[in-house]
Structures are given as structure tokens and as C-alpha cells.
Symmetry: C2
Subunit: 242 residues, 2 copies
């Protein structure tokens, strides 16, 4: 009887009514594929990764690797952490905030390497839409993380503030994540356009690889959003228990 | 008493509980601004629009104008049509499908002009992420429109099919719309990168104009999604009355 009421409540709350667990598998697989593709591109096609090198291109290569591993994959996994495990709410919250912290730190280092590459190569900073949105994403991501930490973890807001904040926290978080996926796609297109202007074949294997990496990244983002809208596996109702 | 129950139901269904009407104003204003900016760019900075011309760049200019007016602004207004007016459901449905039809037709003509420009200028087709996603968006948009027409308008599906389809129709529609906004942003970045490679100043007024047009387009998209998640002004409950 109690189960029924709970189930009904869940169904009212969320129109889709699909279970999250099969979708989380899609998220994990697409995330791993995106990481493998960006590593194949930067290491096998672009000469590898280096923090310091006379070949400045190797410094740039760290940028897409850290953004995909950090902001995109860790960020996406952090978002679906409430839907991925039948664990206690407090444990899932800890996984959520730690994964987002890793995403944020790798994102900041990833953005730093783009500036480092530009500065050591005499390339202008912050003129493109990709760079503008990238700065916007990392600032919003940081604000969102701090707000979440203070209100939902330590010291924690009043029950009223938590209740009213939670749907906005989730919606704004999804907005920043989708913006991050879009900004990463802009980055793939921008870098590939530079390479093609310098003579890279437009229909060659590297061009196809970069475009497919972007499409896998977008699909990963779509699966993360879909999973976030699906029903959690545990009977614990996160919205009720805040 | 009846009003209370209805209000409670609405609140259960949608976590945000904000009224849509003020948000629709933001959508209209941002949409008009986006259209003005893309016209200023293509007419004042890029020499104007032409269907046939020895100056092939004028043919290209039709592409961003039709995509922004059509797929983006008419598409976005179509999405929020259920939230923008306190009208009868059948009238709102007609507005919804007609606006989407206009968006789709302008989108198809807009994509055609990009091919026309490429073919008449000897530029390769369909090698970039922008072009791949653009084809994806227009195909998905067409499928979504036909499905919506057949199931929800004429001849119409069974009540069960309508009830189960509606949240998926809304979610898939938002996905295609967000993908369209992202693809438009890729287009702005791609075109500007080509122009900058041909000598356009990276921090000049045209570069800033194009980047701001893209940012206004993204903000328009964000307001459309937010409005779609907000409460409709009428007492008519669209989900209950399908």
C-alpha cells in the first residue's frame, strides 16, 4: 500500500516514467567511447600530450582531453549519480559533489592549458564564441558547485530553502551541462576548421574521427539529460527526503 | 475547491511552479533581437541577400537569415505557443503546428541556399560537423512534425497512443530544438572562423556582432526551454485534455 502511494507520487512527478538504470549503461558506454576517441585523436593523430614542450601543439592537446574527461564525462556521471546506484541518499550526494568537484578541477586545468598554449605560441586569447562560452561555463559551474555545497551539504540551508532550490539546482545544472556539451562541440569544429585551413583533408580519416567524437559527445549529453529525467532505481525519493 | 485541486495537480506535475507569461515576453524580445542582429550582419556587413547573383556570398547570406527566422525563432515560438496565450486547446494546437510548419519550410529553403552557394562557388558539401548536424536536425524536425500531425491532429491516434506519446513528443521536440540552437551556434562560429582566416579582425565590430548574435540565439533557446517547463496561463490543462 505504501509502495503504491510512493510509486504513484513518482509517476505524477515525472511524465516519462521510464527506469533510469538501462539508460545509465548508455551514459557509461558513450562516456568511455568519447574518452577513447579524444585520446586516439590527440595521441595517434596529433602527436601526444605534454605540459612543457618546444612543440606547442602537444600542450594544446591536453585541453580537449581534460575537458572531455572532466567537465563532460565526470560532469555527466555526477548528474546521473542519483539515478545510477540503489544507494542511500547521503552516499549518492557525496558521489555527486565529489564527481562534480573532479569535473570542475579538470575543467579549470583544461582551460588553463588552452591559455598556456596560446600564450607560448603568440595566439590571441578570448576572441571566439568557443572561448567566451567556455569561460561562461566554468564560472557558472563553479557558482553552481559552491551553491550546492553550501545549501545541500555544509552548513546546509533551511528545509524551505532546500525544497525551493532543488528543482532550480537540477534545472540550472542541466543547463550548464548542455552548454558545456555545446561548447565542446564548438571546440571540436573550431580546431578542425583551423587544421583544414592548414591543409588537412576535409573528408580524411582525422576529420571524420573529430566529427564522430563530437557526435558521441552530443549523444552522451542527450543520454545524461534523459537519465536525469528517468526514475531512480531505489525506493528512496530524493525530492521528498531533502 | 475545484480550483485548489487543479492548482495542486499542476504543482505536482511541474516542479518549477513559475508562471509562463513573463517568460514568453523574454522569448519574443530575444527572438526579435536575434532576427535584427542577423539582418544587420548579413545586410550591413556582408553586402545583402540575393537568390541569384554573380557575388555568390549574397546567396550564402540567405542561409543564416532563414535559419534564424525559421527553425530557431518560429520553431521556438511554436514550442511555447501552448504557454503564450490563454486560448482554447484546439486553437493553440493549430498555432503550434502551423508555426512549426513555417519553421520547417524556411529551414529546408535555408539549408538549400547553403548547398546552392557551395555548388555555385565550387565549395565542398557536407564535410563539417555543422552540416552533418544540420541535416540531422532537419530530418528529425520533419519526422517529429509528421508524427505530431498524424497522432495529434489528423487522423489522430487512439487516446492511449496520444497519452503515452505526448511527454515523448514534448521531450523529443525540445531535444531537436536544442540541437538546432547548438547547430546554429556552430554555424556562426564556422563562418566567422572562415572570415577571420581571410583577414577579418578577430576583435573587430563584425566579429563581436556575430558572437553576440550567437549568444542571443542561445539565450533565446534557454528561455524557450524554461517557458516550456513553466505553467500555462489558462486553466485548461493540456496534459489532461489530450
Amino acid at each position: 500500500m505504501e509502495r503504491d502511494t510512493r510509486k504513484q507520487k513518482r509517476e505524477k512527478k515525472m511524465g516519462l516514467g521510464v527506469p533510469a538504470l538501462p539508460l545509465t549503461l548508455g551514459v557509461h558506454v558513450l562516456g568511455v567511447v568519447a574518452i577513447i576517441l579524444v585520446l586516439v585523436w590527440t595521441i595517434n593523430f596529433r602527436g601526444g600530450l605534454a605540459w612543457d614542450s618546444p612543440n606547442k601543439a602537444l600542450i594544446f592537446n591536453i585541453h580537449p582531453v581534460l575537458i572531455i574527461i572532466g567537465l563532460i564525462v565526470h560532469g555527466g556521471e555526477a548528474i546521473i549519480s542519483y539515478k545510477a546506484f540503489p544507494l542511500k541518499k547521503e552516499v549518492k550526494k557525496l558521489i555527486h559533489l565529489v564527481l562534480h568537484a573532479i569535473a570542475l578541477i579538470l575543467g579549470i586545468i583544461g582551460i588553463y592549458t588552452a591559455f598556456k598554449y596560446h600564450n607560448e605560441s603568440g595566439i590571441a586569447n578570448l576572441y571566439s564564441l568557443h572561448s567566451w562560452l567556455g569561460i561562461g561555463v566554468i564560472v557558472l559551474y563553479g557558482i553552481q558547485w559552491i551553491y550546492g555545497f553550501v545549501i545541500f551539504f555544509f552548513p546546509g540551508g533551511t528545509p524551505d530553502i532546500r525544497r525551493y532550490s532543488l528543482p532550480w539546482h537540477a534545472l540550472f545544472g542541466l543547463f550548464v551541462f548542455v552548454l558545456a556539451v555545446g561548447t565542446a562541440s564548438l571546440g571540436f569544429l573550431e580546431k578542425l576548421t583551423f587544421l583544414e585551413n592548414s591543409g588537412l583533408a576535409k573528408y580524411g580519416s582525422e576529420a571524420l574521427l573529430v566529427n564522430f567524437t563530437a557526435i558521441i559527445t552530443i549523444l552522451f549529453g542527450a543520454f545524461v539529460v534523459l537519465t536525469a529525467l528517468a526514475d531512480a532505481p531505489a525506493a528512496v525519493d530524493d525530492y521528498e527526503a531533502i
